[in-house]
Amino acid sequence: MTSKVKWLADNEKSVLVNNFEKRGWIRGTSEEEDWNFFWTSVQTTRCIFNLDSGYRLSDDQLINHFPNHYELTRKDLLVKNIKRYRKELEKENSPLTEKDENCRYMHLDFIPVTYILPADYNIFVEEFRKNPTSTWIMKPNAKARGIGIFLINKLSQLKKWSRDSRQMGHNPKDTYVISKYIDNPHLIGGKKYDLRLYVLVTSYRPLKAYIYQLGFCRFCTVKYNSAVSELDNMFVHLTNVSIQKHGDDYNDKHGGKWTVHNLQMYLEHTNGKEVTDRLFDEINWIIVHSLKAVQGVMASDKHCFECYGYDVIIDDNLKPWLIEVNASPSLTSTTAADRIMKYTLIDDVLKIVCPNGEIPDPRWNKVPPKDSMGHFDLLIDEELAAQDQHENKSRSVSGRLPRTRPQQQWK
């Protein structure tokens, strides 16, 4: 006879609470000890794992963030980690570091050129002078939902900003990243969009990650225009729902959200299946690379899992670019379809991390049976890959890379 799982959550989002109640779980009472499953905000996680609190998770407790998730989800750290990952691979002479004639990585060039300000200011200026017509996007490091983002195309704008912010008495610790703006996004119906994909990581060492089939595209409400005069119009450039919601043309029936299935179908019709399959393969690889880049530094606590929101932009050559990773993708629903999708997302996450809705057991090898993965597809499981390789040792080992299953996605 197993006792009921006790849950806690930092927010009372209905998609969470309904899922817990559906499983017959009961609400925990104190944040101190009396819980088995805690859906926290990143702040609470930080408190819990803080050395000062002296609190240690017991065996039957599960939490939805890794202690240092910011290695992946903070814009500057992500860039740093990926740069280091590339160097490491180069040291190993990995075939992945292959470069084309323009000295660009063929497989690892998946985030726009990015510098951290003010630290990298001089390198940035050098780069900018090489290519003075380019547009750059400034993002505050630790803010989400499109807050504080602006575009620049002249060095003087940057200088003015730095002067202004000093005058305004901003905290100099408020670092920004400046990235090359992707000014040739792929357009559908004349509008810019980006992809929001959900990725569940249950363990970093060995790496076990799943990708959610029901991701979506977020569309701008206004036709895309790369003209300089529109540089200040955030409705043209930013796809964040929290921004678009305030546009005049925001439609609350569909919320500007298009399913990945629709995107896939559109691309297969207009560009052919091969190109489409390659694009979605590349997206899967981007995710795998980004996770492997932080694998070494992430504290792989067995009590943790994390569901990331990946933001990906596709340019007009159908090359995907990783923009950023969110540790707490929004669970607020804008439309009816959105609510169903997010409810299913949480349901499927719980199916994988808490099989049968029972009390978590950290000794479990975290290999869910195939039929309990819901709408998640296995992206990478290094443990299974190692087993496979072991079994196939007699055969020629073709996989230089861990086995992933990027095919059969979004079917």
Partner: protein
């Protein structure tokens, strides 16, 4: 024979005219001229060389495709003295109804004009033209203030017209028991009162024989992954370039990657530079003039495609194409083949006098609510507006125009609706009757599906697979077939509606009596029931004087016992009939104890066997089931025993009274 060859000659002449008037004729002529002007060509050989050149350069395939398309879309020439209105629609009452319907639409447009004070058409000022051009570039039609323009008509209004239509020289004499008082015996079961000649199910089976399950079907047989052989065949079809082959290919559906090419081939659409020019002309006329129907289109897109979760992305593209569509006078051609006629408006000259009549809107088509859904799904296939426009034109003039005009054509909406109702009545009579009784007539649901060709109702991927088949079979008759199939597929859910409580209790009683199909329980319990009845016979029979009295008593006892058992089971959610035989054994046991003297040995054996099995069965359930079950068994037995006590006492009293009376 003579007339036949004459008409053939006419046909050939028509086709030659069509080719000469098309882009194809022009480019073909130039290609042939270029070829013949080469130095090695001898004048004598021209006659021989031209066909060879045509074949070698692939021109003959294009000409063949045009001829095929012409023959497929044009009905064979009719008798020369047929009046033109009969050609449009042979049945006068339908023709008149269509005319009345058009008048109604026109009237409501005129009312809209006067109420909102908007002119039917006007030229934009230079400044407005510049503004509008900018808006077109930005694709920002959603800014346009539409006011409270409402669609001229919705599918529901059109359905009312269809259902109110009845033939003056035909009355359906089906006696309708449920309507005895209202419309004594003159209504048909369906909503459509007109009876048109339809294909039988057998004919449909032959027509759609390639849809049968032993053929590969895209979208159904490839859940595991695309069929590579079918893909290869698709590539080959595109390479071959024959329209009939492409159509045949589409009968089994095609994959997204090839859909664009194959549809163009199967619909005979070639996107020549001339069609781009033509589209630009239409665009120019959109910039120049403002029409009232523009607002209707804009409003329709905003209400339907723009709100749709899959099509909203293409909102502005759809608006652009539909605005060009409204200016295209080439659509007037298709009115020769339909019962509908384009509405007319009067233009006024500068003096304010009525000058002459023009078709309004220029293409003669007034949109209804959901019109943009004919176009929106195709935006998934191409992103070039000109290709989209050309394909939409082909699809509309071949199929979709039939879905919003009254006609007796076998593919007209009237026939499709009747086909739907007849098929549903034939193949799902209970379902049809049930829904009709519930007051939600099947056609009321299916009508919008059919009128929109399922656009907006099916997921886009499935919808395009359906439209594959429409193009492949060159008929809309697949729409009612699919609608019937949807009803048949959802039959159980639909039947449950309103029947739920009765169905629920029926299921429960069945579960109680059959132990949910558990065979061991059935054998034990019905075996015990049989034994206890036998035992009952040998013990209770002696008390009665006559056999009928005994039977009557036994049956009423069984009746009561079963009633009590089912009642208790429904109440406490248990299953089984063990209470019945327990009570009977209890009754028989008391009887046996009361008067054990039975002379026949075999009877004794059966009675003892019954008691033995009773003990064994109770022991068995004591081991396998919860204690509650055994307690219930014992209680039932005790009740039977006590019932016998009471019964015997009352029996004795009655006997004594009778004895007293006789004394």
């Amino acid at each position: 024979m003579v007339a036949g060859s004459q008409s053939n000659e006419g046909l050939v002449k028509d086709i030659i005219n069509v080719i000469q008037a098309s882009d194809l004729g022009w480019t073909l002529k130039r290609a042939v001229q270029d070829e013949l002007s080469k130095s090695f060509v001898n004048v004598k050989d021209i006659k021989r060389l031209v066909p060879v050149f045509m074949k070698e350069s692939g021109w003959d395939i294009k000409v063949r495709n045009v001829v095929f398309m012409y023959l497929m879309t044009h009905t064979p020439p009719s008798h020369p003295i047929t009046p033109p209105e009969t050609l449009k629609e042979p049945m006068s009452f339908i023709r008149n109804a269509q005319a009345r319907w058009e008048k109604r639409i026109l009237k409501s447009i005129n009312t809209m004009c006067t109420e909102k004070n908007i002119p039917l058409a006007r030229m934009r000022t230079i400044r407005e033209q510049a503004d509008f051009t900018q808006k077109w570039k930005d694709m920002a039609f959603s800014d346009e203030n539409m006011g409270d323009i409402r669609p001229v008509y919705a599918p529901k209004d059109f359905m009312e017209v269809l259902t109110s239509l009845s033939s003056p020289n035909y009355t359906a004499k089906i006696y309708d028991y449920s309507d005895v008082n209202e419309r004594s015996g003159t209504s048909v079961w369906g909503l459509i009162q007109v009876r048109l000649h339809l294909k039988t199910t057998q004919q449909l089976r032959v027509l759609f024989s390639n849809l049968s399950t032993h053929h590969f079907q895209t979208g159904a047989d490839d859940i595991e992954g695309p069929n590579p052989e079918w893909q290869r065949l698709g590539v080959k079809t595109v390479q071959l370039g024959y329209t009939p082959t492409a159509q045949r290919y589409l009968q089994q559906g095609c994959y997204p990657t090839q859909r664009g090419d194959i549809w163009l081939l199967a619909l005979g659409v070639d996107n020549s530079p001339l069609s781009y020019q033509y589209y630009n002309q239409l665009k120019a006329s959109v910039f120049k003039y403002e029409l009232l129907v523009d607002r209707l289109f804009l409003q329709d897109v905003r209400l339907t495609a723009g709100n749709h979760e899959a099509y909203f992305v293409f909102e502005d593209l759809v608006v652009q194409i539909l605005l060009c569509f409204s200016r295209d006078t080439q659509f007037l051609d298709h009115f020769k083949r339909t019962s509908a006629s384009p509405p007319h408006a009067y233009t006024r000259n500068n003096m304010g006098e009525t000058d002459h009549t023009v078709v309004y809107p220029p293409n003669g088509i007034i949109p209804f609510h959901g019109f943009s859904l004919f176009l929106a799904p195709m935006c998934f296939i191409w992103s070039d507006p000109v290709i989209l426009y050309n394909v939409f034109k082909a699809l509309y003039t071949r199929f979709f125009f039939r879905l919003h005009s009254l006609s007796s054509h076998p593919q007209g909406i009237l026939s499709l609706c009747q086909q739907f109702e007849t098929m549903l009545q034939t193949h799902q009579p209970q379902l049809f009757y049930h829904l009709r009784e519930m007051g939600s007539h099947p056609l009321k649901h299916a009508f919008t599906w059919i009128m929109h060709a399922f656009a907006g109702y099916l997921e886009t991927a499935q919808l395009l697979l359906l439209w594959d088949r429409i193009i492949g079979y060159n008929t809309l008759e697949i729409l009612p077939v699919l609608a019937v199939a949807v009803f048949a597929f959802r039959r159980n859910n639909l039947m449950e509606e309103g029947m739920q409580s009765a169905e629920y209790y029926f299921d429960q009683v069945r579960a109680i009596l059959t132990y949910n199909g558990n065979e061991q329980d059935i054998q034990i319990n019905y075996g015990m029931l049989l034994l206890s009845i036998l035992c009952w016979c040998f013990t209770v029979l002696r008390v009665f004087n006559t056999i009928p009295d005994f039977c009557w008593f036994t049956f009423s006892c069984l009746y009561i016992l079963f009633g009590v058992q089912i009642g208790i089971c429904v109440f406490v959610q248990c299953i089984g009939i063990s209470g019945v035989w327990c009570a009977m054994v209890g009754f028989a046991y008391r009887m046996w104890v009361h008067s054990p003297a039975d002379p026949v040995l075999s009877n004794k054996l059966i009675v003892f066997a019954t008691f033995g099995s009773y003990i064994w069965a109770n022991f068995h359930y004591f081991k396998t089931e919860s204690n509650f079950t055994t307690i219930c068994h014992l209680v039932a037995t005790w009740l039977g025993y006590e019932a016998n006590n009471i019964w015997i006492k009352s029996h004795q009293q009655r006997d004594e009274r009778q004895k007293g009376k006789t004394k």
